[in-house]
Amino acid sequence: MGYFHSVRLEEDKCKGCTNCIKHCPTEAIRVREGKARIIQERCIDCGECIRICPNHAKIAVGDALTALAAYSYRIALPAPAIVSQFAGQAGLERILGALIALGFDAVYEVALAAEIVALATRRYLDNYRGKRPLISPACPAVVGLIQVRFPSLVEQILPLATPVDVAARLARKEGMAVTGLPSQAIGTFFISPCPAKITAVRQPQGGLPGPDRVIPLAAIYGDIRQHLATAVPYPSRAGATGYGWGHSGGENASIGGRRLLEVDGIHHVIAVFTRIEAGDFDDIEYIEAQACPGGCVGGALMVHNPYLARLELRQLALCLPSGPANLPEAGSSLVAAPVQPRPALQLDTDLATAIEKMQRLEATQAMLPGLDCGSCGSPSCRSLAEDIVRDEAQDTDCVFVLRERVRVLAEEVVELARKLPPSMAQPERRDKDAAPGNS
């Protein structure tokens, strides 16, 4: 089962420390032979390991500008948060113009698609009578988290396409209309603030079309900056509400309503989802959940400090109209495929065997010291117990268990060293435990 992931390890930079394993929300990393190994089925590409790695050994693989050559008409799809990285240095239209200077033929703002999605979401919520709260599908790391850790919540993911996909579909249609070129000659390039969106594009849910390529912001940050001063302004069509999607709370603000909740930072998202699975939060209409602190401005592939980026984005939005006068017709571009669970944490496909393994797991965990130190290469004592049950580790991988074994062994060695053969020892110096009359 090949599952594409954008998050990778640069082997020679990895020092085998245990920072990343402790922060991974799906316990998808182990340190083995001095290097971090990502368990592919569990990784949700949230980028927590990229953020935390002190050696910058975790990277995200995306496309480069050279990929533009594969298409005759190239459309850039900048995520709303992207402009925050340059907002202090140039106005919106000049930032969009810098993308043209890099070789793109047109720009389709994802912020514009976000406004279309917001309107459709509002309509959907007004007519929705099912299980609450509905959860935003916009953050792919959150969707991955639900698939792996909260499978019962997949049915509460709002069944609408994300702004990225809507932008790609509408941009393609517009590009074909403007140029008269066939679909395959048009290239749509998402400029991504995070690795999760790279993965989502390469591995779309249900195979519905999205952008053709993804370029990480970090990869072209310098190029864009270089062109800011000389770029010819490119007309923006999106408004303040669309650009608000770039930071936490912006999506909810553009949808509008009274019981909308926003949560950002993947570990906070986990806390909220745990309560939803326990039946809480059912008086909440909609949850905007974002894996990165502060929302997309805090994306792991962004360059600037997330809090400064949020400020810049808000300031920039103040100069924009609240929303465009007439939104493009969305048509079928809002269709989304249903999200399926990814049962990567399951111990066994057979229930009875899985329960047996769980019994062993609980018993093994009880023997471990509970320090969650990570020295064994697994993120916690419980996950080491899990790895042992899965035959991927052994109990002596725990330094404390090993130490205890060594102590017992050492005592035995001392004990044995004291023993002398009867030919040498006085009777009283012989081992008291020795069976009587045996010599």
């Binding site: 699975e277 944490l345 899985a354 769980m358």
Partner: protein, 144 residues
Amino acid sequence: MKDNIPSLEMAFPVRARDFLAGGDGAARIRRVLQQVGFPPAIIRRVAIAAYEAEMNIVIHSEGGELKAQITPEVITITARDTGPGIPDIELAMQEGYSTAPREIQEMGFGAGMGLPNIRRCADELEIKSAPGQGTTVNIIIYNR
């Protein structure tokens, strides 16, 4: 050994009025069921029932224990507490009926939905209680 149906048992102490830790036991049970591989719909029913039962101990009792017994066919949740007991179980089962003190209702708990929510999730529900005798709630959910 192979003829025996594997059965996993877990027990968590629950402290009265500990709203910070309240719900941890139910969350642990949920994670275990998920790792074992029960269907999401079953996990959800168990998670809700266990959470409500655990919070009932936190809100109404003087402390107790949340237990889970897990086999491939059936999951049993038992919440046992020492506490005031329920004088009128039928009344306590009514939606919106609550004896939670005001300060707890102001925290957003005690809306009178605990036992009704448990009943909705359970295949079988048994409540043993009498004034001054504490309460034992036994919840059975079949995996089918």
